[in-house]
Amino acid sequence: MASAGSTNSRRVIPGFGISIGFTIVYLGLIVLIPLAGLVLKSAGLGWSELYRSATDLRTVNAIWLSVWTAFIAAVINVPFGVLVAWVMVRYRFPGRRILDAAVDLPFALPTAVAGIALTALYAPNGWVGAYLEEWGIKAAYTPLGIVIALTFIGLPFVVRTVQPLMEDIDKEVEEAAATLGAGRFQTVRRVILPAILPAVITGFALAFARAIGEYGSVVFIAGNIPYVSEIAPLLFIIRLEEYNYAGATTVATLMLMISFTLLISINWIQAMTRRRFGNG
């Protein structure tokens, strides 16, 4: 559709030179050259320096903490995100539209604001934290607090990826399944879940990738104790403030490698899905 008539459009429509020129120059100046500088810097460190900083116990702990808390948060967001999407798409109840709009709050609310609000909410004297305290659960200033903040950040990624696909599910297919004797549970498991599975995986990967690098919403609630509750982006800031550029660049390089691996897997999942189902 997009390519309809575009074989001769190069001759008809003007402005290719100037628009592509500006695009590439601006992309280069704002994104590519700065990122290339980072790659050059980490390459300039040499393998031994990179290896030494990367095996530093505090660095390893920080990166591992960022990865596993981001993973758990993304895992939590899968069932709850799918449930929220389902409730928004299929059911009608008062306040639905407002709640639906509120799902995007983590995209719109500045991360620092989310950070201090979540901390105050889940702190031992906070509205929710006080209840958790009675059960002997400490949320704020522990890895659990980090998981809470990352769950907040990741939720819209899962909901907004799954929602459009859910809206596209043809009710007739469900009716067909029901006519053929499938119970409701079987229909959900055999018909609906397979249809939304690629979107669920993509949403999971997006939430996971975003959470690994997240800083603002986590740094207030995390506690920031080295080896225990110090996330990778915070350790990175600390190294930078010590003017330890080698250490900072190492942490940054490792974080970049993780998020690019995830990005490539997301693209791969989407390409696979398009091939199998005809659209993404």
Binding site: L35, Y91, A102, A112, V113, L121, E175, A178
Partner: protein
């Protein structure tokens, strides 16, 4: 409970819907989850900000450092967003209206800043302009201050908000194809007239949508500007950074007061966004249609 909801006469029970009890339970779980993670933090911002009354609240907002943080945040957004608007229009025009090699690579590169951690988006500018960089002697000789000053804040913000406008426009313009433009051109319109009177009206709501998200992020960005700001009170502190400083000084009313302004802006953003999706959903890229 089973008597209330469980035994619905067969004829009334739809084969493609859940029972009333299941439905109610699912809605309840979703609402509780959203309340715990989204709604309560939002309410808490305003409660904490007004904890010592409206007087203290407005006093905190009138603080000179808070005012200067608001001015700086606005300045940064006003400079960074227009650049990204022009870029978004140029990139979507080139990508949607023409065929060329490497198009998919270009689209992926435009999305790149989204997959880079905010703090790294700040670091790249420190490495480029910091005291250890190749450019540093030249900058010092010409007395140009980029880091810990407005230019650094603007560059970091431009990097972080880079894809927002482009990614709203590209898919929509690709769906729309080139027939409208070809018709206008064949009727004698110039390239610029075609762009202004045909293309721009076709994508106007998507453009508004992209600019809205771009501006919201530019105002709220924390990690990237935190790295390049230097945290000089009254000078290089944007609103989110000012929230952090006040919070770390245990000046909670002040921190939540500034935060409440940002939260209000976020609510306005969500409101406009929802209106755009409901009213003009058919004129947005397909991912946002309702």
């Amino acid at each position: 409970m089973a008597n209330l909801f469980g035994r619905v006469p067969i004829g009334l029970r739809s084969a493609v819907n859940e029972g009333a009890f299941t439905r109610l339970t699912l809605i309840l779980i979703a609402v509780v989850f959203l309340a715990l993670f989204l709604i309560m933090p939002l309410i808490l911002v305003f409660v904490e900000a007004l904890r010592q009354g409206a007087g203290a609240y407005f006093e905190a907002l009138k603080d000179p450092d808070a005012l200067s943080a608001m001015r700086l945040t606005l300045t940064v957004a006003v400079i960074a967003v227009p650049f990204n608007i022009v870029f978004g229009l140029a990139a979507s025009w080139a990508i949607a209206k023409f065929d060329f090699r490497g198009k998919n690579l270009l689209i992926s590169l435009i999305d790149l800043p989204f997959s880079v951690s905010p703090v790294i988006s700040g670091l790249v500018w420190v490495l480029l302009f910091g005291s250890h960089s190749v450019l540093s002697p030249w900058l010092q000789a010409h007395d140009i201050q980029i880091l810990f000053a407005l230019p650094g804040l603007v560059l970091a913000t431009m990097f972080v908000t880079f894809p927002f406008v482009a990614r709203e426009l590209i898919p929509l313009m690709q769906e729309q194809g080139t027939t409208d433009e070809e018709a206008a051109l064949s009727l004698g319109a110039s390239g610029l007239q075609t762009f202004w009177h045909v293309t721009l009206p076709n994508v106007r709501w998507a453009l508004v949508y992209g600019v809205l998200l771009c501006t919201a992020r530019a105002i709220g960005e924390f990690g990237a500007v935190s790295v390049v700001s230097g945290h000089i009170r009254g000078q290089t502190n944007t609103m989110p950074l000012h929230v952090e400083i006040l919070y770390n000084e245990y000046s909670f009313v002040g921190a939540f007061a500034v935060a409440s302004v940002l939260a209000l802006l976020a609510l306005v953003t969500l409101g406009i966004k929802a209106v755009l999706e409901w009213r003009y959903g058919n004129q947005l890229a397909s991912g946002h249609r309702r």
